[in-house]
Amino acid sequence: MSTAVIHYIDQPHPVTGVTNSKLGVWLFIASEVMLFGALFSSYIVLRIGDPAWPHGWTILNVPLATLNTMILITSSVTMVMSWASLMMNRFDRFRLYMILTILLGLGFMVVKGFEYAHKFEHGHFPRTDNFYGIYFTLTGLHGLHVLGGILVNFYFLVTGKSLWTKSPKMFAGRIEAAGLYWHFVDLVWIFLFPSIYLL
């Protein structure tokens, strides 16, 4: 029987300089850029077509969203710290920073939940008008991405120890890939916040 193995799982490819998973995540992010690109473009088309489109800051809670922006940026920092801890061979520190990242992510979702609840209480639903439709759809899809990131991070937090002992390089690679995704989700919010709340 053959003993063939799939290359470049833990070692970067000598020509491209990346591992398979890192390249895969970059390509996945390219696809996500197209998804959010389409969502933002649709937002522009609908907004231009409606002369009575309201300014976001007159309706939405800007201080709360600013708080959420800070939370998400901080979580990106802790995500990098957790990866950096692995590079310095400090698994305990990795755990600490990963827990912080997850908590900050959950914090973002809780704040978002309060925002949504507040809107629902006042009878503002996605069907109210296209402003609310766009607001709920775009932030909702972004929220799903945050939730996905939290789940991935949680999985690595819980199951990480065994892979770390078996192959530290491979595990660090996975955290790096998860981190790339997490930063991307953060970046989407950096675009969403001004274009929906501040314009």
Binding site: M1, S2, A4, I6, L23, M34, S42, L46, P126, T137
Partner: protein, 571 residues
């Protein structure tokens, strides 16, 4: 992984992570969906040939059916079958067979890799496709039936249609997820896992075709995902992204907020669906190239020109989408832009086809079974492509838009075009996958009957189109001007049923050859590319030792050599 243990039946053949098993799963599921989609059309063709008459043979079973009372097909069912025929053929049949099936099976073999870069992701991709397919099929059992707003699902019609449309959207989201996982996997595999010595310009052309296709899938599908989410919101939550203000349906104003833009859907949809056309055709061109080069025993003419054309084609396919929308009143500036890009994109397509035809020139052609289909592909694709040019010019399109001419055009590209290429591929690689050759006599019968019948279906569509017969009409001779060409419908329908009967030959051949076919050697076609350097059928892990590549993909008839082919791994 180096440790090896025997897997049980379920792990080996059902929930496998081996790219070859997944490829075959994709191929067989895709073929079944193609058969199903074709059956829908064969029933619809009865209605088109004999409008309002009861289906023969089965009418007595359908006496109390609420969908087809007395065996007569009503407009609702006709619309549903039409919408699902398109959806199934494109998203559940051709793409899974061409990309999921052939891509999965051949790409790792042709680049000398043991498997795809992410085997589990590969399995996830197949099962996501499977779930999407089940949801689409499940919608047939809804009380209101499946989606009936056409495969393009234009709002506001689709927004207001029955529950089937919601199933269509949810199914679509699964299919998009599947192709996303697949395309990431293909790209990483091709970029990272090529065998030692296999530089990009030594890759077989089929791998190039899959490479560009994967980019199209990766970048073009997400906008449809976005559009599907918007339409799902419209339908389920009650937003009005695609519903304009003041929409009146059946005399009563709709109780929605309004302010939406139905054209927005068309832009998002065609942003996917035009690259999707190239997703349908590029793997087919890749397959045909492999078969033609192998059977002319000559190097491919203009390999690099073809690769650059392919890359240019892939890029351009993102900027032609609105040539489907000349009738929306988007303005002459927009129309001019998209007419120009459409004319430009025809250039690389013609280069690809010309290179293949010049490859034939001066070759000592072996008329093998796959070669029959590959040769038929060339004129069929040419007809499909050239009839597209008038549709790319707004002035001509305004007359021909939404007539049978359009149906004839894109079916020539996809049916006698892509499908013939896929048949060529099946006949060509069947010996590698099963270890046995397919039956020649049955295969040639299958080819000649299919070739004549398929032209019998689609050629008259151009005549009908010029006569102004609209597509999507459940009663084809509803308008007086269509009555003149109603006779062609009978001819086309009979051709379609003959085509259906001819596919039985293929099905028989497919299963019979597995048991009784002539045993195949590892390299029955004397081919040069790496997949023929594996044992037959290839074991888990593919190659007995890691292959090293020493030469380009198509070194046929090199002067002064003992054989007329030199495989890539020969030093």
């Amino acid at each position: 992984m180096s440790e090896h243990h025997e897997l049980g039946f379920i792990r080996k053949y059902v929930f496998s992570v081996d790219h070859k098993v997944i490829g075959i799963q994709y191929a067989i599921t895709g073929l079944l969906f193609l058969l199903f989609g074709f059956c829908l059309m064969m029933i619809m063709r009865w209605q088109l040939a004999y409008p309002g008459e009861a289906l023969p043979l089965v009418a007595s079973w359908l006496e109390h059916s609420n969908k087809m009372p007395g065996g007569v097909m009503g407009p609702d069912l006709y619309n549903a079958f039409g919408a699902m025929h398109g959806t199934i053929m494109v998203f559940l049949g051709v793409v899974p067979l061409a990309v999921g099936g052939f891509g999965n099976y051949l790409v790792p073999l042709q680049i000398g890799a043991p498997d795809m870069a992410f085997p589990k992701l590969n399995a996830a991709s197949y099962w996501s496709y499977f779930v999407g397919g089940v949801i689409m099929l499940g919608s047939f059992f809804l009380p209101e039936g499946p989606a009936q707003s056409g495969w393009t699902s234009y709002p506001p019609l689709s927004n207001l249609a029955g529950t089937g449309q919601t199933f269509w959207l949810v199914g679509m989201i699964y299919l998009v997820a599947s192709s996303l996982l697949g395309s990431v996997n293909f790209l990483v595999t091709i970029i990272q896992l090529r065998a030692k010595g296999l530089s990009f310009f030594r890759m077989p052309f089929f791998v190039w075709a899959q490479f560009v296709t994967a980019f199209l899938l990766l970048l073009a599908f997400p906008p449809l995902q976005a559009a599907a989410v918007f339409q799902l919101m419209d339908r389920v939550v009650g937003t009005s992204f695609f519903l304009p203000s003041g929409l009146v349906v059946g005399g009563t104003p709709l109780a929605v907020a309004g302010g939406g833009n139905p054209i927005l859907w068309q832009h998002l949809f065609w942003f996917l669906a035009h690259p999707e056309v190239y997703v349908l055709i590029l793997p087919a061109i890749g397959l045909v190239t492999e078969v033609i080069v192998n059977n002319t025993r000559k190097p491919l003419y203009g390999y690099k020109t073809m690769v650059y054309s392919l890359l240019f084609l892939g890029f351009m396919s993102f900027v032609v989408w609105a040539h489907h929308m000349f009738m929306t009143g988007m303005g002459t500036t927009m129309s001019n832009f998209f007419q120009a890009t459409t004319m430009i994109i025809s250039i690389p397509s013609v280069i690809l086809l010309s290179c293949l035809i010049i490859t034939l020139w001066g070759g000592s052609i072996r008329y093998t079974l796959p070669m029959h289909f590959a040769l038929a592909f060339l004129p069929m694709f040419a007809i499909g492509g050239l009839t597209g040019l008038p549709l790319g010019l707004a002035a001509a399109d305004i007359y021909l838009h939404d007539t049978y001419y359009v149906i004839g055009h894109f079916h020539y590209v996809v049916a006698p075009g892509t499908l013939f290429a896929l048949f060529a591929g099946i006949y060509h690689w069947y010996p590698k996958a099963t270890g046995r050759m397919m039956n020649q006599v049955l295969g040639k019968l299958h080819f000649w009957i299919s070739f004549l019948a398929i032209n019998g279906i689609f050629m008259p569509m151009f005549i009908q189109g010029f006569a102004g017969v609209s597509r999507r009409l459940a009663i084809p001779n509803f308008y007086a001007h269509s009555e003149a060409v109603q006779g062609t419908n009978v001819f086309m329908s009979i051709s379609a049923w003959i085509l259906g009967a001819a596919q039985l030959l293929f099905i028989i051949n497919f299963f019979m050859s597995m048991k009784t076919g002539k045993k195949a050697t590892d390299n029955p076609w004397d081919a040069t590319t790496l997949e023929w350097a594996t044992p037959t059928p290839p074991p888990h892990g593919n190659f007995l030792q890691e292959p090293v590549v020493h030469r380009g993909p198509y070194e046929y008839s090199v002067p002064g050599k003992a054989t007329d082919y030199i495989p890539q791994q020969v030093s």
